[in-house]
Amino acid sequence: MSLGNLIFIVLGGIVPLAYIAYIITSRKASVWENQEQYIHSRPYMHGWFVVVIMSFPSIAVLLIAGFLHATGVYTVSPFIVVAACIVLVALGFAFGLRKISPDFRARNKVENVIKWFLIAASLVSIMTTLGIVLSILFEALRFFDAVGFWNFITGTSWNPDTAFLSGAGRGEESAAAAEFGAVPIFAGTFMITFIAMCVAVPVGLFSAVFLAEYASPNLRKIMKPLLEVLAGIPTVVYGFFAAITVSPLVVKAAAFFGLEADYTNALSPGIVMGIMIIPLMSSLSDDVINAVPQSIREGSLALGTTVAETTKGVVLPAALPGIVSAFLLSVSRAIGETMIVVMAAGLRPNLTANPLEGMTTVTVRIVDALTGDQSFDSLETLSAFGLGFVLLILTLILNIISTIIVRKFREKYE
């Protein structure tokens, strides 16, 4: 019997026991209530108090034992765990039953427990961030140790194919050592991000201006959900669309102009990614444009300017910080986007300025390194964490800058 099963069995025992204890205690407390004595807390609160006091210690024991077992640190004998739980439940019940009295402040005690639960729940998100940072950092450090941080950041040749040899203890056999220069990968990422922004920024911004300044309320009501549909389409679907439909179109269009394009060109994932980001750009800009006070607009219009002149001369400059932050968030989204580039961009790192050639991105290399059949400590697998580290830092910086800018903007107008 595994400890995992055991935990479920014991929990199955604790829950009914706790229910019985709840009934007994709240009956006891309602007797006082019926005698019209003064009673500080309602009977059910006394019940909950006993439930907490009898079940929490044993659940904690179970969780700790389970954690130790799952992480492989130490496996406690199941019998000891069960015995400890039974003793704790019995002691808790006896103690709780003695403790309660009409004057006992059960409600305050129970609510305190609730509050700690809520705090624990909000710590989960902090733990998630910590988990992401630490899990990436540790593996990334191992990778940088082996490759060298500056070689990784400034090297122009990415050639991990022989990495498995050293993983298999045959490092000397390889003719050429594996190289991990990430510049071509960064270049590909920025190229595709740049193309995506060329699509998303003008279209998103102009849509936002039109919706905020010109569109009737009815048109707004229809168009905003329709734009949200673009945002709700899964990226894997966009990836399929980019690979199957847009790439051949790009190749044909290039051939029409006498140019040669790869089927894994950077242009098609870039364009499709731009389409995907339009709703993000437009809804964030729409929010800030709407946050610009109406009085500023009316002041400008009263001087006889047209709506376009007001928008260009007054509204957009006022909303500029918000628009910049929308832009930064969109860039961060584009850099971290995975499925579109995995399906439509190339696998080969390629340092070029020609968007019609195939190039690869950080996220593509991460997926490629981790879905192959390399062992977990091979250098290529670790390279995924090195790239993930760069991706994390980049997106964190972009997100934080955009948060700060937008907060400054809000402080100014709200």
Binding site: I132, L230, V236, A308, G336, M343, T371
Partner: protein
């Protein structure tokens, strides 16, 4: 006076600029709608044919010999065109129904993917003589297209003609159940803490900044977390819906926290004060008065979070949920795959017939997601309460 102003050269220019500016905005909107329509029609045109499947009328003779060499059971005319998925089941059929032995049955059986693609007028790997044979069979009424139920009741297969989305759909349901189970209670609890309890100090602000950051972190990094923490550290089975569900719930958590906070904020303070004034404790106020009125908002956020999690692929690839899984998973620790991952594997498969199946799976996924989003929008509009 006014006609004087309007007729002046400079003003005419200004009004033209105004019109141009408005047109740019309108054009941008039109462009995004154009993308949407082009995209949807493209997917539907590619995919709708997969809902029908070519079948061929064949004589199946069950004998000792044909159990040994199953292809011989199919009459010669249809032999090359029958799906191997049907042919290899012949010995099993006999095993289950021994009375079939010695019989000859005429029935419609699934044709292979090349025939299917040829009938639908798509690129295929058939030779000219094979095409002529099929044309002849078609004239005799021995080949037809009928509703492709395999697509909905089968799992993945190496043979496009009998591969389906069922196991992936079950995997998606498993993953979503786990995601909701983990992320909704924790998300709602932390939103309640931040909105109702938390004092305005450094710690609280750190949590808030952190949640906003988490919402903007690329999803693939959650995959790295899932791989390093859940699989390598805690030993959760790779490719299991448990690993996927845990990873996705961490990703959905910020969405749920943010939307729950918004709906808690929308509850006016008068309700809080009223409850406290009649002697309710803080938790009683939250549980009896604040939460019930904010349920629609929480629900809307949950649906949007679920819709996002349902379409997510990248983190699931990293925790191994893209493996070839023909069987329906039986438990949360079985290897499973999800619809988007199935779309990804089919999209990278080499047989041509998978293209339309990929598009068909996309149609199914989009139908579900758009319904979810529509429900969320409807809920939001319906419950937009003005206090």
């Amino acid at each position: 006076m006014s006609s004087l102003i309007e007729s002046s050269q400079a003003n005419r220019k200004r009004y033209k600029a105004e019109k141009r500016f408005k047109f740019y905005g309108f054009f941008a909107l039109l462009l995004s709608m154009g993308f949407l329509i082009f995209f949807l029609t493209d997917i539907v045109i590619r995919g709708y044919t997969a809902f029908r499947q070519a079948e061929i009328k064949a004589e199946i003779s069950y004998s000792k010999e044909t159990v040994e060499i199953p292809p011989l059971a199919v009459n010669e005319e249809a032999r090359d065109f029958a799906s191997r998925g049907f042919v290899r089941m012949i010995p099993l059929q006999v095993e289950n129904n021994p009375e079939l032995m010695g019989d000859t049955v005429v029935q419609w059986i699934v044709a292979n993917d090349d025939v299917d693609q040829y009938i639908k007028g798509k690129p295929n790997g058939l030779s000219d003589s094979e095409k002529q044979k099929i044309d002849k069979l078609k004239k005799e009424g021995k080949i037809k297209l009928s509703f492709n139920e395999h697509f909905f009741i089968n799992g993945d297969s190496k043979l496009p003609e009998i591969s389906g989305i069922f196991s992936a759909a079950v995997g998606t349901i498993y993953v979503i159940i786990l995601t909701v189970l983990f992320s909704v209670p924790i998300g709602v609890m932390s939103a309640i803490y931040l909105e109702e309890y938390a004092p305005d100090n450094m710690f609280t602000r750190a949590i808030e900044v952190n949640i906003n950051n988490l919402a903007a972190i690329p999803s693939i990094l959650f995959g790295l977390l899932g791989l390093a923490v859940f699989i390598n550290f805690f030993g959760v089975p790779r490719s299991s819906s448990l690993a996927g569900g845990l990873t996705l719930s961490l990703m959905t958590l910020p969405v749920i926290i943010i939307s729950t906070r918004a709906s808690l904020q929308a509850v006016p303070d008068s309700i809080r004060h009223g409850a406290l004034a009649v002697g309710a404790s803080k938790w009683q106020m939250i549980w009896h008065h604040i939460l019930p009125v904010s349920v629609p908002g929480i629900l809307t956020g949950t649906i949007l979070g679920v819709a996002r999690a349902m379409g997510e692929t990248a983190p699931l690839l990293l925790v191994g949920m893209m493996a070839y899984i023909p069987e329906v998973p039986n438990s949360f620790t079985d290897a499973a795959t999800v619809l988007p991952a199935q779309i990804y594997t089919w999209a990278s498969a080499s047989q041509r017939a998978y293209v339309e199946r990929t598009a068909a799976a996309i149609i199914v996924l989009l139908a579900v997601l758009l319904t979810l989003n529509a429900v969320a929008i409807w809920l939001r509009n319906k419950n937009e309460k003005k206090w």
